[in-house]
């Protein structure tokens, strides 16, 4: 079965979703990622969805779930590169993803992750509190 690769970069994990996910794939990713966080003792997870063009309520909820799982396992999760159409769809679906940190691109996402882990720049983190 095809799966989404999880890349380790130091204390971070990188996930880049580049295909339209179906439900099975999403569940597998959830499983893989939570295992990988534990195995590598990762402190941060960065999920890039810049090429994801379609979302449904299931995928939306799954993204929120992954973020929640990451937090429980002690890893901060940042979602980066959401397309306008996807953002609008999620809002219309009523999935505001509260508590999920977001950033515009991978670069900003990494910076945000570092700040979160270093525990500084709480002012800049205010995006996530919405």
């Amino acid at each position: 079965m095809e799966h989404i690769p999880i890349l380790r970069m130091g204390e971070f994990l990188l996930v880049s979703i580049q295909v339209d996910m179906h439900d099975q794939m999403a569940l597998k990713l959830q499983d893989d990622l939570s295992n990988a966080i534990q195995k590598n003792a990762s402190r941060g997870v960065l999920i890039d969805i810049s090429t994801l063009e379609m979302v449904d309520s299931f995928i939306g909820r799954m993204v929120a779930d992954i973020s929640g799982m990451g937090r429980i396992l002690g890893a901060e999760t940042v979602l980066v590169g959401m397309q306008p159409a996807v953002a609008i769809t999620l809002v219309e679906l009523g999935l505001a993803l509260p508590g999920v940190a977001t950033a515009l691109n991978v670069e900003r996402g990494m910076a945000l992750l570092r700040r979160k882990i270093d525990g500084v720049g709480s002012d800049a983190d205010s995006i996530t509190t919405g």
Partner: protein, 276 residues
């Protein structure tokens, strides 16, 4: 019917043109006598041509294509010249009087034939008149639609205030369609420019009710999902009162009274400092 048109077409045309000119005395300046004359003579030609092989008053057939197109054109120009719908309809209906007069003089004493002829003629005239009004209405709707589209485009400019800071000054009442456009243009712009902060300025929004507040919140949430921050500025005292009275929860959205304050906050967030 066609005989009469052929025989006394000139007289009918002259009388019609005279009637039109006197009827439209109040609308002088919008259309020249020349133009009117051209339109009437062209219509007479088309009518004469079509009445030769036209049977009923069904004007949807291919025979009537030329005359329909002509009336469409006339209606469109009437819309542009600012004529009302009744003035436009009178263009056709005022032909009845001279036409019927010609039919009468043609039929002589034969009342049955005259009644028959007049009924046929009136049926045709009515159909043409209704077509004119329809075309008039269609043109008007086109104008309104175009204006609506233009208004949507005009009312949603996204301006770059600073490096990484966008502002969108919203003017006029916010409805679902407009918010959608605002949201899409703003989000697209955020992607293009990589902006971190967007300022929604609602100084020009006259009223904020629960629906408008909900639209604003949606925009803010969508921006947050994309990783940009949003500040709402230009909240007038009246609007602040309304929002509180309505019990709308702005869910921790940063709001400021004016654009300057919002910009100051945005600069602080992006780590830019200004020397005065």
């Amino acid at each position: 019917m066609s005989n009469v048109l052929k025989k006394s077409g000139k007289e009918i045309h002259a009388a019609w043109a005279r009637d039109l000119a006197s009827n439209q005395a109040g609308t002088k300046g919008r259309i020249s006598t020349n133009e009117l004359d051209q339109q009437t003579s062209e219509f007479m030609q088309l009518l004469t041509a079509v009445s030769e092989h036209a049977k009923g008053a069904d004007i949807s057939g291919p025979d009537f294509k030329a005359i329909r197109d002509f009336l469409d054109g006339v209606s469109r120009s009437r819309v542009q010249q600012g004529f009302s719908s009744d003035e436009t309809a009178m263009f056709i209906f005022s032909l009845k009087k001279p036409y019927f007069a010609a039919l009468r003089s043609d039929a002589g004493k034969d009342a049955d034939a005259l009644a028959d002829q007049i009924w046929k003629a009136t049926e045709l005239m009515d159909a043409l008149g209704i077509h004119t009004v329809k075309a008039y209405q269609k043109s008007r709707e086109e104008v309104i639609n175009r204006q609506q589209r233009e208004m949507l485009e005009l009312s949603t400019p996204v301006v770059k205030l600073w490096d990484g800071i966008l502002a969108i000054p919203m003017i006029g009442t916010l409805d679902s369609a407009r918010t959608q456009v605002v949201m899409e243009t703003l989000l697209q712009k955020v992607v293009e420019t990589g902006a971190q902060i967007a300022i929604l300025d609602i100084t020009g929004v006259p009223t904020v009710d629960t629906l408008v507040a909900q639209h604003l919140l949606k925009t803010v949430t969508a921006l947050r999902l994309m990783g940009a921050e949003c500040i709402i500025s230009g909240v007038r005292p009246q609007i602040a009162q309304t929002i509180v009275h309505l019990g709308v929860d702005l869910q921790g959205v940063v709001t400021k009274a004016n654009l300057a304050d919002a910009l100051a906050l945005a600069l602080k967030r992006t780590g830019t400092s200004l020397k005065s």
